[in-house]
Amino acid sequence: MSQTSAQSSQKVSNTGTQATRVIGVLAIVVMTWVVISGLSLTSADVVQGESVRIMYVHVPSAWIAYVAFIVTAIASAFYIFAKRHSLGFDRVAGASAEVGVMFMAITLVTGSLWGRLTWGEFWQWDPRLTTTAFLFVTYIGYLAVRRLDGTTEQRAKRSGVVALLAVLEIPLVHFSVVFWRSLHQRATVLDPNGDVKMDGLMLFTLFSGVVGFTLVFMWLVLHRQRTMLLSDLAIERRIDDAILNRQNESVGN
């Protein structure tokens, strides 16, 4: 095992730090407030009734999913274009994409349930929904590319390129779907783009949800990128050990 990796693995004996503990505690406090306020303190909507409470999960998770994919793209760009190709950027990109896919799945599931209750259908070929579904599949593909055989540098380069291509792809998909849907009649019980008026507590709870989910996202990404570092170091250690064993065999012979 190389000296550098030995030092790094000693430094990263666990994935928690003072900062992540503070973020974790804050996330628990804010999310507890969102659950209490969202389920009991806020009133039901005049039109949508109790189903409006799905909004406190759906909107923040969609927000976090988009933020996660932006973080992935920015971190990938830093890895590819920076003079020193730091694998730290690649790990942040990968961790952010994993968390983003999870939040995007939550967005799609809660959106379908909400849609069933408000529009009468689980799914509509609305441009926003369709683009979100494409984004979800695209980042599942990104995660599959990260699991291809190869070194950590190959993984970083391949997945970095895919993340940047996704940035090119998403506007094209969104524009083509918007254009496509402009030729079709909408069939909604309730217009998904309708102007929703909210009272102060509902708006505050929604805002708290966004803050809470952002804290959860930060906590998850920080821990995940550190577990990725440990995983990379473990692979490196196995390779170093294999080389050392081979050298010892040669000396023994």
């Binding site: 590819i80 494409f134 599949v137 695209t138 599942i140 593909g141 599959a144 590319v145 291809l148 055989d149 190869g150 540098e153 190959q154 380069k157 391949r158 390129v161 895919v162 940047l164 291509l165 090119l168 792809e169 094209l172 998909v173 524009f175 083509s176 779907v177 254009f179 496509w180 030729l183």
Partner: protein
């Protein structure tokens, strides 16, 4: 000036190499074209209605093209990786964006040949009709759409070349990316056929979208292909 000449030579050499392999092996002619024709026949079995088939003929042509794209791309890169031909090109010190362009143009030519057969089979099997101005739109649409598919197919083929499980990974990566081509090419083809009362003039905006797609992935692919296989 010398560099430009050298790049164009690499493009033409790779293009001729890929087309020569096809002429000698006849995989597209003997396997992919019958496969695409079978897809068109199977769609007819599944939909079982002449009016519906006429209405959706454009979409079926482009779905068959995209399914065939996976087969052609995997075949093209399987040949290159089997004997480490890509590694040889890489160590030869040539411009890898030229290799990308050469392979993309070769793939485009193969897709154009495929689409000619698919459109001909739509005329025969689905009884679609096209006017003179519709034919101009159709030819432009096929040119732009296959160019975009050629670029994006080569780029993602290079990405998954040599990887385990590339047969399943390639469709997973490519399908979301080619969705704009499927939508735009289908709408333009429907306008050319006049399906569902669509006017031919409606198709030109979709051809514009196909051109933007081809330009974006042509430039993006030229920049990204080198770093992707330079490992």
């Amino acid at each position: 000036m010398k560099k430009t000449t050298s790049k164009s030579r690499v493009v033409s050499a790779v293009l001729i190499k890929d087309l020569r392999i096809e002429v000698r092996s006849r995989v597209v002619t003997n396997q992919v074209l019958p496969f695409a024709g079978l897809i068109m026949i199977m769609f007819a079995f599944a939909l079982d209605n002449d009016d519906v088939l006429q209405r959706v003929a454009g979409g079926l042509i482009w779905l068959a093209t995209i399914f065939s794209l996976f087969v052609i791309v995997q075949r093209s890169f399987a040949i290159d990786t089997a004997d480490s031909a890509l590694d040889s090109l890489r160590v030869a010190g040539i411009d890898l964006s030229a290799v990308f362009l050469g392979k993309a143009i070769a793939l485009t030519f193969q897709l154009i040949a495929l689409d000619v057969v698919l459109i001909a089979s739509a005329f025969l099997l689905y009884q679609v009709q096209v006017s003179a101005i519709g034919l101009v739109l159709l030819v432009t649409c096929v040119t732009c759409a296959t160019t975009g598919l050629g670029f994006v197919g080569t780029l993602y083929g290079g990405l998954t070349a040599g990887a385990n499980g590339r047969e399943t990974l390639l469709p997973l990566l490519l399908l979301p990316v080619v969705a704009p081509v499927l939508i735009a090419a289908t709408r333009a083809t429907e306008a050319a056929f006049g399906s569902g009362g669509a006017a031919t003039s409606e198709g030109w905006a979709w051809v514009g979208l196909l051109t933007i797609f081809a330009a974006v992935f042509g430039i993006g692919g030229s920049l990204a292909f080198g770093p992707l296989i330079d490992e």
